[in-house]
């Protein structure tokens, strides 16, 4: 037992002491499996009840558990897809590769999709990375900025001669993904507690959008022309440019009507937050 009331040996520490102590402790926590612990172990009092080593171990173990739990919260369906063992392994590998720099653990998993797409052996299973990307997009939509949404009347009020120059602002929660694997179907089945088929690979990537209506997140796939048009307005294209781009898929005579139809659809889905003309 330590007598915490008893003054210890007289010592005049310099401010370097505090910095060094914290750096040693942090190094130990971040790399508990590989690093020499002697530095920090020498700084800590061990007792008959618990050695310095086991006391320090509480911190390094808690660090990993806590961050794995954070990943599990954001990537719960990825966890189901890959199974407990693989999830724990990939989460541990990620925790070691990306020490947290964020204030709120909600942001800790931001690089997991990229990590899974580029790090073997996970990169050999592209459905893993795509599932992670899909779940991350859902979290982004969940707490993205609020914004007003346009109503059909707002569009109807635009004078006919202003339509060509009209540009749009999408709702800040809108996320776009192109997925080769039908991971959203798997996500939906798990969410509905239905039998889930392992994700299948599509012949071509399929476009998806994920966004928030009021407080709830939604997603749906997009036909190729609609995906192109949505990406175009997001990057600032005006209505006339959208119409001429759509001619790739639609007869020139119908392009304007088709573009107007897409726009009305987006407005009714609460995807459009502003327009300028």
């Amino acid at each position: 037992m330590i007598d915490a009331t008893k003054p210890r040996e007289a010592r005049t520490p310099t401010s370097k002491d505090l910095a060094r102590l914290q750096q040693d402790f942090q190094n130990y926590v971040l790399a508990a499996s590989t690093l020499d612990h002697a530095g920090i172990e020498a700084e800590v009092v061990g007792t008959t009840k618990a050695s310095a080593k086991s006391r320090l171990g509480i911190y390094s173990e808690a660090y990993r558990l806590r961050l794995i739990e954070a990943l599990d919260t954001d990537y719960i369906t990825l966890h189901t897809l890959v199974g407990d063992d693989t999830f724990e392994k990939l989460a541990l590998a990620y925790v070691d590769a990306y020490p947290s720099k964020v204030y709120n653990m909600r942001w800790f998993g931001a690089q997991l999709p990229e990590f899974l797409k580029t790090t073997p052996p996970y990169s050999n299973y592209p459905a893993f990375g795509e599932m992670a990307a899909f779940e991350w997009a859902l979290t982004l939509a969940f707490d993205a900025d609020n914004a007003p949404v346009l109503r059909i009347e707002d569009i109807a009020a635009v004078p006919g001669d202003a339509w060509a120059d009209m540009t749009f602002a999408c709702h800040p929660s809108l996320q776009r993904l192109d997925l080769r694997w039908n991971v959203p179907a798997f996500w939906k089945a798990i969410g509905n507690e239905e039998e889930a088929q392992a994700p299948q690979q599509n012949e071509f990537p399929i476009a998806w959008m994920i966004w928030r209506r009021d407080l709830d997140s939604y997603f749906r796939s997009l036909p190729v022309d609609e995906a192109w048009a949505l990406d175009a307005i997001r990057s600032g294209a005006n209505f006339a440019e959208v119409c001429s781009g759509l001619c790739e898929w639609i007869d020139e005579l119908q392009a304007a009507q088709h573009a107007a139809g897409l726009l009305k659809g987006w407005v009714s889905e609460q995807l459009i937050s502003g327009l300028k003309y």
């Binding site: 007598d3 520490p13 505090l18 914290q22 926590v29 911190y59 707490d143």
Partner: protein, 293 residues
Amino acid sequence: MTATPTSPVSFRKPGSPCHRYLGFGLGLRTPHYDTILETRPAVDWFEILSENYFCAGGKPLHYLDRIRADYPVVMHGVSLSIGSSDEVNIDYLKQLKTLAKRVEPQWISDHLCWTGVAGNNLHDLMPLPYTEEAVAHVVSHVNQVQEYLGRRIALENVSSYVTYKQSAMAEWDFLREIAERADCLILLDINNIYVSSFNHGFDPHLYLEGIPTERVQQFHLAGHRHCDDYIIDTHDEPVIDPVWQLYAHAVRRFGDVSTIIERDDNIPPLEELLAELDHARRIAASVETELAA
């Protein structure tokens, strides 16, 4: 709901820099959002985890605004890292201040600890060495933070599992010294005192006696996990009897102090926490009766 609300009185010890007494509250947790809005439970106030609301929109802020409309709210952070040898993190403070503008909290608190260096966040409340150097370092950080926020902050004692060889004073002397020199407030976590007293072998009553009464703004109560050789501060179980007894001692010494129960894991239905909170009310009331007699 069965809880009987006390009527918190405006209470201030002579010469105390503390804010008004709020009564008995709970840590606000996501699974309770709807129940709170639907049933308006007899909770005097809520404590939020500040960082959970460092976001732009959507559900978290939606619920926060609605609950704030009905209840006093206090902001409690975990990433201020006041004892870090890094510089005070202005970006963090900016987000904290933005949230404070929205919430208008009764007060703002964080922990007497460090959470990382060189820009890292270990997401843990890492203990500081109890040295004169660390006192001076933390005091200078508290000064900067209080200046930036334009208000006093409250610092909470943490549970710890290690003692540093270089520590030269007791934890309570360290806390008192910092609070007095930086002119900040104290959030006394009764469970953390109990946990650390077991882990480090000191008398928790000595801890209470070492804390200046006029600076104690708030109490925390929570449960923990006993692992034979040490206790881990898990906040996933009800408060245990020895911690209730220590709480009674604290009420005897510090009087009416705004109190919450923290539950972060294994979160039960709200009614269970309301019943636990009623237990705290009864203990405080019986101590008051005892003192009056």
